[in-house]
Amino acid sequence: MVSREKDKLEALRQEVRAFLSKNLPEKWGTPAYKAPEPGSPEAINLSKTFTKKLYDAGYTGFGVPAQYGGVERPPEERNIIRTELLRQGFPLPFVGLGRLVVDTLLQWGTEEQKKRFIPSILNGQVHWIEGFSEPNAGSDLAGVQTMGVKDGDEWVINGQKCWTSGWDYGEWGFLLCKTSTTAPRHRNLSFFLFDCSTKGFSRRPLRQMTGEPHAQYGELFFDDMRIPKDQIVGEEGRGWYVAMTTLIAERGGGQVGAAAGEAGLMGRMVRSLGGVDDLIELAKKTKRYGQSVWDDATFRRRIAQFAIENEAQRAYGVRLGMMIRNRTASGNEASMTKVTRTEQGKRMGDMACEMIGAYSQLVRGDERAIEEGDLVFNMLMSRGTTIYMGTSEICRNILSERILGLPRG
């Protein structure tokens, strides 16, 4: 019995490996592989094709009931699939922010909304963007000023959103806006889904401190944009509570992420900025003051500390995933890994720059820049991580208030 179970899992492992060797892009995982520019049409196309194949093979779409397109598999199988995907350097299904919509709709959506929107997210065909932050409502999200006014069977939206990732390729968006000027705070907001091709919607890029030509973040403008009334999620005036589900999912505390074994691992993005192995490799090949940085005990201990922190976050992610699935955790706990992954990412970025000394001043474009300027780019990139998705300070407020039960000031 036990061995038959093992054989079955081993067969699945081989199946996933065969699938990957057949379907990953040519030269994937070798230095010869040239990844398309993130956010470019080629990159989007690649992610759509690959995610669709993964979904069709039953390797993604976990944590969602089958009637909404979900894929049901026991945890051991999901674990094998995930491990094999990770082994190939993270060609994980790219559903982007759509996964937040899935968690949100599972909890708040109508039957019709779940059937209409979830399947095309799970198979990676529709990419979503988030319309939460505004120029004057960042950490104080409940203070959004974008206004929605009811007009017959439609809502008319006017206002502006900003710091929107995927601003340029998003096809659908979700939106938190004010729908009452009289209701009390937190009860004056509603949550909508909108089609980015709707008249009255426009967008433009924001430049960021890394100076890269392709903007990852943008601004959204709503100028009398009309949304049909069946695209409100939850009740009118209850948008704040709907948005809380979205935010919990975003920080890694959602049911869907937990089912996929990714609880508390919003750090996928952070980790892509460089891990402990990269630091070790850099230390080994960097020579300062006549010796290898790897032979410097001070650096080695600091790298070991990062490795311990990584393991702590991994072990906590596993526990949290179990707790979320058992519903003994609310998901707010994921703010812990949001804080620590991102704060750690900054320290790791700093350390890489420290190792390379004077060369840490050279950015992309200088022929002498180490690793073509990627190290410095990542160090700068990491600065955003402790701000987006709820600053470290907001996350600590959440932990102290919602987990420890300390009072609000």
């Binding site: 311990i308 922190e309 707790m323 003994t328 955790a329 812990m336 300070e393 102290s400 987990i403 420890l404």
Partner: protein, 346 residues
């Protein structure tokens, strides 16, 4: 508040039983009484624990134990840490009982384990010497062969619970070669032998007493060698591994207790006409304490599982857990003192 997961039903029961028992039997008044006591051991409480099966928790049934796992033992360690329970449990069970179980001969196990399990025997490990380091080259206490026995001469420091102990597992040098790790041998020594002289060291933590133990021509039978002659170093490493995992569990218990007390205080104490728990500077510190303890627990549970399963990564997992839990405990208890203000250090 601290969330328990991954515990089986019987483990949840063990934890609850331990917490209830310790709350009733070893309250703060008892802890203070034991701290003031020279030996710091209550035979009455020791017997009660034995009746619950704690000392023999991980021993197989044929040695009077309950055949539970190392992971179960760490649950007890956690709760003992939470209660800052004084007494020789850690010395007896973790430092001596486990190596006897792992490396003792059948007759040694039969001789010692049932007595430990029944509460009739208290033990401790005598290992460190003047350097204070677990470093083979620094271990000098000499064991000289004389007929069928060995004679021990030398000094041990930082020996926990020595005055309560009936037997000591003594780390001795039986030969000196180029490799300092060779020639180390472990002996089970009757602590009441002539030639053993014990004196208190004045340590900060009076819930775990430590002593200097001097051995002058102390005889011990060759039958009391644990493991191989000259081959004790690898046993010591195994002891250190399990002891570290058990300490990590204790630290998680202490830290969670300190955190819970501090959070309760933040909700209660008023200054500037408001509860101080409304101040973000303090809330953020409390959030960091929560993170430190949740991560500590995660690493500790993983390390304990690795010990239990003798997983390939066990050395790494235990080292990481010990390191992280230690740093976290310092941060959390120090923050606890700070956030309690004046009553924190008085």
């Amino acid at each position: 508040m601290a969330i328990e997961i991954g515990l089986k039903e019987e483990q949840v029961m063990l934890k609850k039983m331990a917490r209830d028992f310790l709350a009733t039997e070893t309250p703060k008044t008892f802890v203070r009484q034991m701290m003031a006591d020279e030996v710091g051991h209550s035979p009455e409480k020791w017997r009660k624990m034995a009746e619950l099966g704690w000392q023999g928790l991980v021993f197989p049934e044929q040695y009077g134990g309950s055949a539970m796992t190392f992971r179960d033992l760490t649950i007890l360690c956690e709760e003992m840490g939470r209660a800052v329970m004084p007494g020789p449990f850690y010395s007896t069970v973790v430092l001596v009982g486990l190596p006897l179980l792992d490396f003792g001969t059948e007759s040694q196990k039969k001789e010692f384990l049932p007595k430990i399990a029944s509460g009739d025997m208290v033990c401790t490990l005598a290992v460190l010497e003047e350097s204070g380091d677990l470093w083979a080259d620094d271990l000098h206490l000499k064991a000289q062969k004389r007929g069928n026995e060995y004679v021990l001469t030398g000094n041990k420091l930082f020996v926990t619970d020595a005055k309560a102990a009936d037997y000591m597992l003594v780390v001795a040098r039986t030969r000196r070669t180029e490799n300092p790790e060779d020639g180390i041998t472990l002996f089970m020594v009757n602590a009441r032998e002539w030639g053993i002289w014990i004196e208190n060291m004045v340590v900060m933590d009076q819930t775990r007493k430590q002593y200097e133990v001097r051995f002058t021509n102390v005889p011990v039978s060759s039958a009391n060698i644990i493991g191989e002659l000259h081959g004790g170093w690898k046993i010591l490493q195994q002891i250190a591994l399990k002891a570290s995992a058990a300490l990590a569990a204790e630290m998680v218990g202490v830290g969670e207790q300190a955190m819970e007390m501090t959070v309760a205080y933040l909700k209660d104490r008023k200054q500037f006409d408001v509860v101080i728990g409304t101040f973000q500077a303090l809330k953020h510190r409390a959030a960091d304490m929560l993170i430190a303890m949740e991560y500590s627990r995660s690493l500790m549970e993983w390390a304990a599982e690795c010990v239990k399963e003798n997983h390939d990564d066990v050395a790494m997992a235990v080292a990481m857990a010990k390191s992280y839990c230690g740093d976290s405990l310092k941060f959390v208890t120090d923050s606890g003192v700070q956030l309690h203000g004046g009553i924190g250090f008085t």
